[in-house]
Subunit: 415 residues, 2 copies
C-alpha cells in the first residue's frame, strides 16, 4: 500500500454532524435519547435521509424485499465481489444515538472520504442498513440480516407482527421500503461492521479500537407458565395456581443463575406477558423470555441446564405447569480469521492501540458471517451503557476505529 | 308474621331459567364462562334485558349518573325509605355465570314471587345493578357503589380509563346508560346482597345459607420498581438495575407472606406492568399490585408491614428503587347487627340451617354499609371456585338462600 493511503483519514467533524442529523429523527424521552423503532414513520424519515446522503455520495441505492438498503459505490471492476460495510439505523424504544447508527454512518464517512480523495477501488463497496436489528417492535431481532443469510425465510420475516398486529410486510409497504431486489443469495467479498462496544472494557483500558474475535454464545427461550384463574380474595394459598407467581420465581432464579456464573456469565429476563393481568383474579398464563450468555459454550450449556432445572422447581413451588416454547441460539459463529487479522494489522499500521475482545451483544454481523467473511470493529462507549437514552460516545474516541475501518475496507477493496 | 308468609317460596326453576338467559350474553372461552366486562356491548345487552324484565315485573327503572340501575317496586307508603336488594351483572374477563348475577336475579325473583302472590309491601322495594363491581375493565372495583356511598367522587369515577383510554363516562354514554338520577345522597331502610360464597366452606359443611357477619380486611397497594434500561447482553450482573427482577422478587415475597399467615391470611400479586418489556433491554419500570387479606385487623396490619419490609429487601437485592403508589383498604366495615340478626332468624324460621361466616372477597355491600344498614347472604358454590369459567352452583343449593332473602326483605319492607 502506498504511503499516501496511510495518511488518508476520515473527517471526524463531518461524521459527527451526520450523527447529530440522524439524532434529530425519532426523539426519545430525553434530549440524548432516540426512539426510532423499525418501520415506523421515524424509520422512514431516517431511511429517506440516508438514501439521499448515499446518492449525493454517488452511490446506487437498492432495497431488497426485506427492506434492507444497499448503497453501492461502483468499483473499477464491477465483476468482482463487493466489500460491504453495514449496521442498522433503527433503535430500541428508549435507545441512544449511536448503537448501530455509528456503524452505518461510519461506512458513509468512509465512502465520502474516498470520494474526496478521488480514490476508486477495484471492487465495488456497498453500505448496508439492515432492517429491524433491534427487535424492539418486531421480534426476533436481527431480522433483515437473518433473511439475507437465509437463517429465516423471507415470508416468515414479512409475516412477523408487532404488538398491534401490523406485520413487517405491511409496514414495509406502508413506509415505501418493500423493495424488489432478492434477499441474499449472493456472495460478498467481505463484511465489516463497526459498532460501539456496549461494554465498559475499552473505555476502562483507554483503548480506542476493539478487534472483535467472536461473540458470547446466546441461548434464549420463551417459557410459559400455566395456572388457573381464581378469585384473589377467598382462594386459600394452598389452592392457588397463580401463573404470575410461577413466572416471578423463574425470573428470580434466572437472575441468580446469572450471578452464579458472573462475571463472565449473564442471564436475563426482561419481558413478561400475563393474562388476564388484572386485580382480583389470579392469572392463568404468564410468558417470560429467558436469555443466557457466556463466552464459553460449555458454561452456556450449563447455565441453560440450570434454567431448565429452575423451571421444574418453580413450577412445583407455584403449583403451575411450565413449558419451553421457542428457543434460539446465536453467537457461536466465529469471524473470519483473515479479515480479523486485517483489522488488527491495520490498527497496528495506523499506530492505533487495539484490543482483541469478544462481542457480548447480538449483531447483524453474526448472521452475515454465515455467508461471507466477516469482521467487527468496536469503539468505546461511556460506561458501557447502551439500549439507554444516556448512551454516549466521545467523537474523538470513535475516529480511530473509523480510520481502521476505512483502511481495512480499502485494502480489501483493492485486493 | 302470618303463617301464609312462611310458606311463600320463590320459583327455583324460573330463577334458573333467568340465570341461563343471562348466561347467553357475553360468552367466554368455554361454554360455562362469561366475559361481560363493564360498559361493553355485552353489558349493554344484559342491562337492556334486565330493565325489560324489571318493567315486566311492574317496576320503575331509573339510572343514575354512575350508570347504577334501580328498579323500584312501589310500596303502599311511598314516603317510607326503600328496602334495597342488589349486586352486579358485570363479570371478570374469564368469569362465571353466578358471581354477582345470582344476587341481582335473586332480587328479581323475590319481586316476581311477591307479584305472583299479590303481596304489596308498606315500603318500596328496590333492586339495584351496580356499575362495574368487578374492576376488570376499569379500576378500581366496586365503582358504582363507591360513588353511591360517597367513597369516590362521581367525576373521578367518570374519568377512570380502561387500558385503551376510554373512560367510564364516555362508555356509559356510548351504551346509553349515562343516567340523570343523582348518585347516592339518599337514605335506604336496608340493603341486602345475596352472593355465592366464593369460598369452599358452605359446600364442605353441607350448609346452604351463610350469614355474613363481616369481611376480611383487604389492604392493597400499587408498588413501582424503578431501575435503569441497559442492554441485556453486555451489562454485567453487578451493574444491572432490572426493574422486572425487583418486581419479581417482591411477587415471590408477597406469596411467601401469604403462606406465613395461611390458612386465614392470603396475599396476592395478580397484575404487573413493565416498561419497555422487550427482549434485549433491561426494563426500568415495573408496577405490581399487592393485596393482603386477613380476618383479623392486627394480623392484616402485620402482613402489610411484612410486605413493606420485603419491598426494602427486594429493592436492595435488585439494585432498584421501590415506591408505594396508591393504597386502599376496605372490609373493615361491619354489617348491621339488627339486619344480620334478621337474616339469621329468618333462616331459622324457615328451618334452613345456616352458618355465620366472614366474606373474603370485596362486595358492593361493603360500601353501601357505610350509608345504610346492610346484610349479606351467601349461597354455596362448587369447590369455592369463582373468577373462573368453571364457577358453578347447584340450583337447589341456591334456592334456600333466596327464600331467606325473600322473607328477610318482606319482614323489613312491612316493618
Amino acid at each position: 500500500m502506498a504511503s499516501g493511503d496511510r495518511l488518508l483519514t476520515i473527517d471526524g467533524e463531518r461524521l459527527w454532524e451526520t450523527i447529530i442529523a440522524s439524532a434529530r429523527i425519532g426523539p426519545g424521552r430525553t434530549p440524548t435519547g432516540l426512539r426510532r423503532l423499525a418501520l415506523t414513520d421515524a424509520d422512514r424519515e431516517m431511511r429517506d435521509l440516508f438514501a439521499a446522503w448515499c446518492r449525493e455520495a454517488g452511490c446506487i441505492v437498492t432495497v431488497d424485499r426485506a427492506g434492507n438498503m444497499f448503497a453501492r459505490r461502483l468499483g473499477t471492476d464491477e465483476s468482482m465481489l463487493p466489500v460491504v460495510i453495514g449496521s442498522h439505523l433503527d433503535t430500541q424504544i428508549a435507545g441512544g444515538r449511536f448503537d448501530g447508527i455509528l456503524g452505518v454512518l461510519a461506512g458513509l464517512e468512509v465512502i465520502r472520504t474516498l470520494n474526496d480523495a478521488g480514490i476508486r477501488t477495484k471492487r465495488p463497496i456497498e453500505l448496508v442498513n439492515w432492517t429491524n436489528e433491534e427487535g424492539a417492535r418486531f421480534q426476533p431481532p436481527m431480522m433483515g440480516s437473518a433473511a439475507f443469510a437465509g437463517v429465516r425465510p423471507l415470508e416468515w420475516v414479512l409475516a412477523r407482527p408487532d404488538a398491534a398486529g401490523c406485520t413487517v410486510g405491511e409496514e414495509l409497504k406502508r413506509i415505501g421500503y418493500a423493495g424488489t431486489a432478492p434477499v441474499g443469495g449472493r456472495k460478498l467479498d467481505a463484511y465489516f461492521e463497526l459498532h460501539i462496544e456496549q461494554g465498559p472494557i475499552l473505555e476502562a483500558k483507554g483503548i480506542r479500537v476493539g478487534v472483535v474475535t467472536g461473540s458470547y454464545e446466546v441461548r434464549g427461550m420463551n417459557v410459559v407458565a400455566r395456572g388457573e384463574t381464581a378469585h384473589s380474595g377467598p382462594t386459600p394459598m394452598a389452592q392457588r395456581r397463580n401463573a404470575l407467581v410461577g413466572a416471578s420465581m423463574l425470573i428470580v432464579a434466572v437472575n441468580e443463575i446469572g450471578w452464579a456464573y458472573a462475571p463472565e456469565g449473564k442471564s436475563t429476563s426482561s419481558r413478561i406477558e400475563v393474562w388476564p393481568n388484572l386485580v382480583g383474579i389470579l392469572p392463568d398464563y404468564a410468558q417470560v423470555t429467558v436469555d443466557v450468555r457466556h463466552p464459553e459454550a460449555t458454561q452456556g450449556e450449563r447455565m441453560l441446564a440450570d434454567v431448565r432445572r429452575a423451571m421444574r422447581e418453580c413450577a412445583d413451588r407455584a403449583q403451575v405447569e411450565m413449558e419451553e416454547l421457542e428457543s434460539w441460539q446465536f453467537g457461536s459463529e466465529r469471524f473470519d480469521p483473515e479479515l480479523v487479522g486485517l483489522v488488527r494489522s491495520t490498527a497496528e499500521r495506523l499506530g492505533v492501540p487495539s484490543l482483541d475482545l469478544p462481542s457480548q451483544a447480538g449483531h447483524d454481523a453474526y448472521y452475515v458471517s454465515r455467508v461471507a467473511p466477516t469482521a467487527m470493529i468496536f469503539t468505546p462507549c461511556e460506561r458501557g451503557i447502551s439500549h439507554n437514552e444516556a448512551e454516549n460516545i466521545l467523537p474523538e474516541e470513535a475516529v480511530p476505529g473509523v480510520n481502521v475501518l476505512l483502511h481495512s475496507v480499502l485494502a480489501r477493496a483493492n485486493r
